[in-house]
């Protein structure tokens, strides 16, 4: 899937800000982190602020912070803010009378459907958690998951 540069930067910025809650991060710092244009990033951050995904504070100590719901905000939500004409309208190419074009459109729709479903299911929180999980050894992952056992009591009654 080919995303526009602005879309990729927006996703990076949102995830970086969401991974650092309670911090005000200056656009300059974000731009340096991602090696991207400061002016371009500021425009993107303002678009995200307009969508109430990030907020900004002026003055010393000011900057941008994530103000959305990381457990609800999906990659799909962010992409739709910046990509025009995506997702494609379903069946837009299913023109009657041209079976070859229609068949090709069906295949492309199949790809779009899976892409859309995937992007709708991945939240900002999931990205952050998955990145942390992958950086840990396997034993630590098991230990982290074990935290969900207490206060639950588990029985192993035989059937």
């Amino acid at each position: 899937m080919k995303l526009q540069q602005a879309t990729r930067y927006a996703i990076w910025a949102v995830i970086e800000l969401a991974s650092r809650p309670n911090e005000q991060i200056r656009a300059q710092e974000l731009a340096q982190t991602f090696h991207i244009s400061h002016n371009h990033l500021v425009r993107i951050l303002h678009a995200l602020a307009k969508a109430k995904i990030v907020s900004s504070a002026r003055g010393p100590g000011g900057g941008f912070s994530f103000c959305g719901d990381a457990k609800r905000l999906t990659l799909y939500d962010i992409i739709c803010l910046f990509e025009t004409g995506w997702p494609r309208e379903e069946d837009q190419d299913l023109r009657p009378g041209n079976t070859l074009v229609s068949e090709l459109a069906r295949v492309l729709h199949e790809v779009d459907r899976i892409t859309s479903a995937t992007l709708r299911s991945v939240t900002v929180r999931t990205i952050i958690d998955s990145a942390q999980r992958r950086s840990k050894p396997h034993q630590q992952i098991a230990a982290d998951l074990a935290q969900y056992s207490p206060p639950y009591r588990t029985t192993t009654a035989e059937t």
């Binding site: 479903a117 998955s130 206060p151 009591r153």
Partner: protein
């Protein structure tokens, strides 16, 4: 509706037995939106006959609030034996309490105890809620794609 700490502490995970079947069928219908009574009855028959099926139930204050169904089995496409998640559901008013996470963790624990190193599942592409949960748990796309075609009379 958030549960109290006392209600959360009352949660018990257990292996399902035949006495749970009716409640599982009811809850599964609420979760899935359609009845799969025959599927569950057949499954319990297989389980009673001895199989690698795991049916877990979550009860809060004695009331069934969740279930998970899995099986350890081989698959005919270049993969060793693995654990399959067939179904998982939590009653709507008891969600966002990590009950599904507890069920999933317990199921995976059973898989691990039996030497399984990979867990797989196939879900409805439009079931965003379930897909979001499984991804938040750490699952991602595997090396297989489901394909199908109609073979009935047109």
């Amino acid at each position: 509706m958030a549960l109290s700490n006392a209600e959360r502490r009352s949660l018990v995970l257990a292996d399902a037995d035949a006495s749970d079947l009716a409640e599982i069928i009811d809850l599964d219908e609420k979760v899935a939106g359609y009845s799969r009574a025959d599927f569950w009855r057949d499954l319990f028959r297989q389980k009673a006959a001895g199989s690698t099926l795991f049916v877990l139930v979550a009860r809060s204050s004695g009331v069934l609030v969740g279930y998970a169904l899995g099986e350890i089995r081989s698959w005919p496409v270049r993969t060793p034996i693995c654990g399959w998640l067939y179904a998982i559901g939590v009653e709507e008013n008891h969600r966002l309490q990590k009950f599904a996470t507890a069920l999933m963790t317990e199921l995976i624990s059973r898989f691990r105890q039996n030497g399984v190193q990979t867990v797989r599942t196939v879900i409805d592409v439009d079931d965003q809620l379930l897909m979001s949960f499984l991804r938040s748990y750490g699952m991602s796309a595997g090396p297989f794609v489901e394909l199908e075609m109609a073979v009935g009379e047109s």
